[in-house]
């Protein structure tokens, strides 16, 4: 029988069981690294460094995990904080060069496949909308959970998801066959 996240967390807490923690990392590494790749605009090396930092912080602070939230939600919050701190350090808080970055991308050069289209269209969104869409639409978090991860009001999350979705739809429709 497969152990649940809660079982594994209990083993880490009680026995300091690093095997149990490695199982947690194995289970969640793909979604955490995926989220960070979206946030860092596919800078894979930076995203993986931040993902590593995320799991190290999770291990050190696992006693502060409250089981009323999902473990993945808690990890997303740590990952988002790691990203924000890193962005602050690099003085690259997004919003500054969004328009410039958007202008650099030429929609004509993208891969015709839907996946590439979607991921590319997603990367064109401003950070706050992209993050909300990735958390809620792609990773299935509720608006409430996303608000807790991002530490912003619920209404802002809803607005960002709505705007992000609309922009994605418009972009995809514009790229689609006429």
């Amino acid at each position: 029988m497969e152990l649940t996240d809660a079982d594994l967390i209990a083993r880490v807490l009680v026995d300091d069981d690093q095997h149990a923690f490695s199982e947690l990392v194995r289970r969640h590494q793909s979604t955490v690294r995926g989220l960070l790749r979206q946030l860092t605009r596919t800078d894979i090396v930076l995203a993986d460094d931040l993902a590593q930092e995320t799991f190290l912080r999770a291990y050190k602070n696992i006693q502060s995990f409250r089981s009323e939230a999902r473990f993945s939600t808690w990890l997303y919050r740590i990952a988002y904080n790691c990203f924000r701190e890193d962005a602050r350090r690099r003085k690259e808080l997004v919003g500054v060069d969004e328009e410039q970055l958007q202008a650099e991308h030429d929609p004509q050069t993208i891969d015709p496949g839907l996946r590439q289209d979607l991921m590319y269209a997603l990367s064109l969104l401003p950070l706050h909308e992209r993050t909300a869409v990735v958390l809620c639409c792609q990773n299935g978090l509720s608006h409430d959970e996303a608000a807790r991860v991002l530490d912003i009001p619920l209404g802002t999350v809803k607005t960002n998801v709505l705007r992000g979705r609309e922009k994605l739809k418009r972009t995809l429709a514009a790229w689609g066959p006429s």
């Binding site: 095997h19 739809k169 689609g176 066959p177």
Partner: protein, 119 residues
């Protein structure tokens, strides 16, 4: 320009478009960076268990009149037929072995989830 898709379709396509990222040694790198486990609590727990066991055994020995029941048990066992003693020993071995296997599996994620094994 083509028609805009609905929210549900967009969400489904987004979920399907998200690639699964292979572990590719990521977990191993994280584990090597973890702070080493502190030895004190385990050591202390072992000592407490050993102490309590020794104390319990001592009390049982004293209360049973110097271990008289052990001598009586051995005498009773010696009167058993040899095949019964063999079955008893084999059964005990199986029981201990089964517990060992169960604990080994519970402690080892790779063995517990055979789908993760790479050959």
């Amino acid at each position: 320009m083509s028609e805009m898709i609905d929210d549900e379709t967009l969400d489904r396509q987004l979920r399907e478009a998200a690639p699964y990222i292979d572990d590719d040694g990521f977990t191993a790198r994280v584990i090597t960076k973890l702070p080493t486990a502190q030895g004190e609590p385990r050591w202390l727990r072992g000592m407490v268990l050993l102490g309590v066991t020794a104390l319990g055994s001592g009390i049982a020995y004293l209360l049973s009149g110097g271990g008289r029941f052990v001598r009586e048990g051995v005498i009773q066992l010696s009167s058993f037929p040899i095949w019964l003693l063999l079955v008893l020993a084999f059964g005990c071995g199986l029981l201990v072995g089964a517990f060992a296997v169960i604990f080994a599996i519970r402690k080892t994620p790779e063995v517990r989830d055979l789908t993760q094994l790479r050959f």
